[in-house]
């Protein structure tokens, strides 16, 4: 720590001229060592000082630059900038970070950021200007490259979107063709089956008594096979219709829906089906939910051991976001090892010919429930019946 003593106290003070000279030299050193080009000019635009960085940036030496008009640095197409700058300076305005282009001695162009400030004399009169120019060529190049990269990205995106749109359009065409195909299946494939079955029935009714019993049995087989074919085509169509449709979900009350199914479907009439309220409202597509629940109920009614009369119980449970509908039956059950195959299309997990079916019913249930944002599953030990469940989105509580 320096301490004051008598020696320093009595030392001679430097002259004011000396102090000013020191300050000027320091300032000159700062200007000289700056990376930015610092020049001064008169209000007429004549260069009056020129630092080292200006030499490096523009390629003119001090001797070449001082005394020359500043327009030697301005490209021809920007010459009109100078009068405008001078005008603003005369009003005492400062021009801050003005981005423009200047020309080197060798004619090449350089991107700069310019700050121009008025210089006043002791009386406050504006007598000239200082110009600080920063080389922003690198920044400008980076900006240009960035813009190019952005443009490329945008055009790549546009190309991608165009391709997606193209493929979507082609997929939509394929879907439309498939829908057309489904419609043709419904009309054209069903018509001959319906006719064969119908004619066989007419033969049985009109000429049945004239036929040998074997002949009657064969005609009956034609009728039954026709019926199965009709059911198969019907189920495939139901599946494909649900698979391709966009289901609109609405608030549905399961209560009425379940009781309507139980009272209206002929196959439910000989079964003992109990329902245990309450049933919580769900967000669903009603026709698809009717399809899913009626298929599950019909399944429970159908797959019972010979001599057993079907007994079903339906109830529901609510968690925060979902409502689970349970359907428990007293049927033949499904062994755990087969349960994962149960909901696949055309899977039939029994050989017993007494259980008529197309193997599509549960696939329809799964497709319909999944289309409504839900899930379906089963628990069974393969002996004591099955308990099917479907999870559906709970309807929002009324406010």
């Amino acid at each position: 720590m320096p301490t004051l003593n008598k020696t320093t106290k009595t030392a001679r003070k430097p002259s004011e001229r000396r102090v000013a000279e020191d300050a000027r030299l320091r300032l000159a050193a700062v200007v000289e060592s700056s990376d930015d080009a610092i020049i001064t000019k008169t209000l007429e635009g004549i260069i009056t000082s020129w630092n080292k960085a200006a030499e490096t940036m523009y390629g003119y030496t001090v001797a070449e630059a001082v005394g020359k008009p500043v327009t030697i640095l301005i490209p021809v197409d920007r010459l009109n900038e100078e009068p405008a700058i001078i005008e603003r300076l005369k009003k005492g305005e400062k021009i801050d970070h003005y981005e423009t282009v200047r020309q080197r001695k060798n004619g090449t162009l350089i991107d700069i950021s310019l700050t121009v400030s008025p210089i006043k004399n002791a009386n406050g009169k504006i007598i000239g200007a200082s110009k600080i120019a920063r080389d922003i060529t690198d920044r400008k190049r980076t900006e240009r490259e960035l813009k190019e990269a952005r443009d490329q990205l945008a055009s790549a995106n546009a190309e991608l979107e165009r391709r997606v749109a193209e493929r979507t359009a082609s997929l939509e065409r394929v879907i439309a063709q498939l829908e057309e195909f489904s419609y043709s299946v419904s009309h054209d494939l069903r018509a001959p089956v319906r006719a064969m079955k119908g004619y066989a029935q007419v033969v049985l009714e009109k000429y049945g008594e004239q036929l040998h019993s074997d002949g009657r049995e064969l005609m009956n087989r034609v009728v039954r096979a026709g019926g199965r074919m009709e059911k198969l085509v019907h189920d495939v169509l139901t599946y494909s219709r649900i698979a391709r449709s966009d289901l609109k979900l609405e608030c549905v009350s399961i209560d009425k829906l379940v009781s309507d199914i139980i009272h209206q479907y002929p196959e439910m009439q000989h079964a003992d089906i109990s329902v245990r309220p309450p049933f919580y409202p769900v967000l669903a597509h009603e026709p698809s939910l009717v399809q899913a629940i009626s298929n599950l109920l019909a399944n429970g009614v159908k797959f019972v051991a010979p001599g057993t009369s079907p007994k079903l119980l339906v109830w529901s449970e609510k968690s925060s976001a979902h409502v689970r509908v349970w359907i428990k039956d007293n049927g033949i059950g499904i062994k755990p090892e087969y349960q994962n195959r149960l909901f696949r299309i055309f899977e039939r997990l029994h050989q017993n010919k007494s259980y008529d079916g197309t193997g599509i019913g549960l696939a329809i249930v799964r497709k319909a429930v999944e289309k409504m944002g839900g899930q379906v599953g089963v628990t069974s030990d393969g002996i004591n019946g099955s308990t099917f469940w479907i999870d559906l989105i709970a309807a929002p509580e009324p406010k």
């Binding site: 319906r194 019907h234 169509l237």
Partner: protein, 142 residues
């Protein structure tokens, strides 16, 4: 004429379906004169009395039209729309008889003024129900 007899125009291209329709009508104890149009153009000609159908004594306007949806050249919906646009014909009840159980088709048919929509194959009960829903088709409903 004191009692107008039920005359039917059946617009159907499949001869099997024509057979089952006639069978179901006869089992319903209805054996009306039926004109069968096996394509859309023939149906339009019959209904507008064009060409060979000009003589209404031989080819009277039907009291009821049974219409298949999928037909060659002009489909069932086009025929239905055309009928609704004819002041002389729009009061003749049209019953759609189709193999399409599609709800969208059923709704469109209803919007276009169809009275009933039985799905094939027709049974006597289905035909009687459809005719009951169509004013002027059964003697009892008059």
């Amino acid at each position: 004429m004191t009692s107008r007899q039920l005359a039917i125009l059946l617009i159907e291209d499949n001869e099997d379906d024509v057979y089952f329709m006639e069978l179901a009508l006869s089992r319903a104890h209805l054996e009306p004169p039926i004109h069968i149009a096996d394509n859309g153009q023939d149906a339009l000609d019959y209904l507008s009395g064009a060409g060979k159908y000009a003589d209404r004594n031989v080819h009277p306007l039907p009291q009821c039209i049974f219409l298949d949806l999928k037909l060659p050249f002009i489909d069932g919906f086009e025929i239905l729309e055309w009928i609704q646009g004819q002041p002389a014909l729009r009061n003749i009840p049209v019953i759609i008889l189709t193999s399409s159980p599609e709800e969208a088709d059923r709704q469109r048919a209803r919007q276009l003024g169809a009275r009933a929509y039985p799905v094939k194959p027709p049974t006597p009960e289905m035909l009687l129900d459809a005719l009951k829903a169509s004013p002027g088709c059964l003697p009892e409903s008059r």
